[in-house]
Amino acid sequence: MLKKSRNLRSMLYFVGPALLFYTLFMLIPTIGGMFYSITDWNGLNRNYSFVGFANFVEALTDDPDFINALLFTLKYVVVMVILQNVLALLLAVFIESRTRFKGFFRTIFFMPNMISLIISAFMWTFVFTQVLPQLAEKTALLFLDQSWIGDPKFSFFSIVIVSLWNGVGYMMIIYLAGLQGVPQSLKEAAVIDGANPVQTFRHITLPMISHAITICFFLTLNGAFKVFEVVFGLTGGGPGRSTQVITMNIYEEAFSNNFRYGYASAKSVILFIIILLVTLIQIRVTKRNEVEA
């Protein structure tokens, strides 16, 4: 009995502090968000009542702005997951194939990742609105003179470009580490057996880095759904709401529009469910294709 209470006390001393902060700032807000999602709380009023699933029904059937933000985000996620991984893997393979200047290229391609997303977005706003138009004027590259931020047709690409610029380096580092784990002997054996570089890459390298692929898909997928800063800094969701993403729609609903906290909470629960489902499916699928090294 005495031993048990002593064990409990030492558990409390060691785990207690972490648990306290975690409960206050993570657990309670998570549960709170789910709780408010079935209320009509407006943030200012102390009183609120339960409305069941009315918020969810409204978000999914009667809120074109939310649906548009959802579709815009999905489009962004698909494009980002593909391009970010393809580019990062390509860069990693190219850099790894070199004998000299490896470190130099790694440093340059990773550097944008150090700069905060919102600062990146401001820097690119300068490039899109000032540099490219002048560049088009002075050279013959007239296609550069577009309304990169003002025209929704192009601003999608601007958002993708800035996100890639910032994010590819991070994935490249993970792929580089994966590539370094591929045994040289395997590749040599494949070459001796008459495999060309593409075949070697397809049948030796790719399976050997399948764990890195799982991780990078997870990170890019997860990150892309949560995109906020780039859009906030570049277009602010505009013109109109044409480039609004889900996170921004939630932010606007809760903090800058009508303070419908309950309704905004329901939207945030929808976002969480989508991320949860998609990542669980992704991990199942890519894990199944993993090869034991």
Partner: protein
């Protein structure tokens, strides 16, 4: 052999073009930050004819550089310090204790790892108002502890499994208490994973935007990123000033990058593989 030489040259060219594109926005920001507004509109691509440092002195004052950096440092130190200390203790204890309570607590910590910040920010803003930590730089650091311990507990928990138990047993024989054993013997052994977590959390907290935006309203308490965001909104189109501020904001991280590049890259790989 000839074709492999050719393809190696093509790869080199692709890499050089890619590197030039990656560096282009930074280069543009730097060279134009030394020009006057008129020079930017005339010759955006050329090097400045004369270095206008007054852009920098102006930006320096407008973003309250010293004060903003001080605030960012306080938030990072409180947040990272708290995460490392509390999560290492919890991760160690939970990893070493068998039983239902221990596994239930561990599960409780990692259950939230997929919850996006945007799903908690609304009720978090209410909780922090109730607890009166909103609007304070120190309080913001405390919030980061709560948001960051789940991942850190998870990583420490896994790392502790690789440390032999005999060390603690012999320390116990020598009459070391549990706390002494942890701080004198275990904590130093956790250094590799501590560096990893510290770096990942630094990059996250220092560069974070949305949480400070929601929590801080007083300009004197703004972090570096928030001050620059405010300047961007206020001096719209005054590019000479804005670019100088952007460069100033990027300098601290670039310095840290230059010194810790190897650790940062190792930290990312370690964190990714374990996570």
């Amino acid at each position: 052999m000839k074709s492999s030489k050719l393809s190696s040259t093509i790869i080199l060219i692709v890499l050089i073009i890619g590197a030039a594109l990656a560096f282009f926005p930074i280069y543009m920001a730097i060279i134009n930050s030394f020009k006057t507004q008129g020079e930017i509109f005339k010759n955006i691509l050329s090097l400045p004819t004369q270095l206008h440092f007054e852009n920098y002195s102006q930006a320096f004052a407008k973003i309250h550089l010293f004060n903003s950096v001080k605030n960012s440092v306080i938030v990072s130190v409180v947040g990272i310090g708290g995460i490392l200390l509390f999560a290492s203790m919890a991760g160690y204890k939970l990893s070493r204790t068998p039983g239902k309570l221990s596994s239930a607590l561990f599960f409780l910590f990692i259950a939230s790892m997929l919850v996006p910040f945007h799903s908690i920010m609304i009720s978090l803003s209410r909780v922090t108002r109730t607890l009166d930590v909103q609007g304070s730089v120190f309080g913001l650091g405390l919030i980061y502890i709560g948001l960051g311990v789940n991942m850190a507990v998870f990583l420490y928990h896994g790392f502790v499994k690789g440390i032999p138990k005999e060390l603690e047993e012999s320390a116990h024989m020598d009459g070391c208490g549990e706390f002494q054993t942890f701080f004198r013997i275990i904590l130093p052994l956790l250094l590799p994973i501590t560096v990893t977590i510290g770096i990942l959390d630094f990059l996250w907290i220092w560069n974070d935007f949305l949480l400070p935006l929601l929590m801080l309203t007083d300009v004197n308490k703004y972090t570096l990123i928030l001050s620059t965001n405010m300047l961007f909104g206020e001096y719209n189109k005054e590019w000479s000033l804005i670019l100088a501020a952007l460069v100033l904001t990027a300098i601290p991280v670039v310095i840290i990058y230059a010194f810790f590049q190897r650790f940062i890259m190792e930290g990312i790989t370690e964190g990714a593989v374990k996570g």
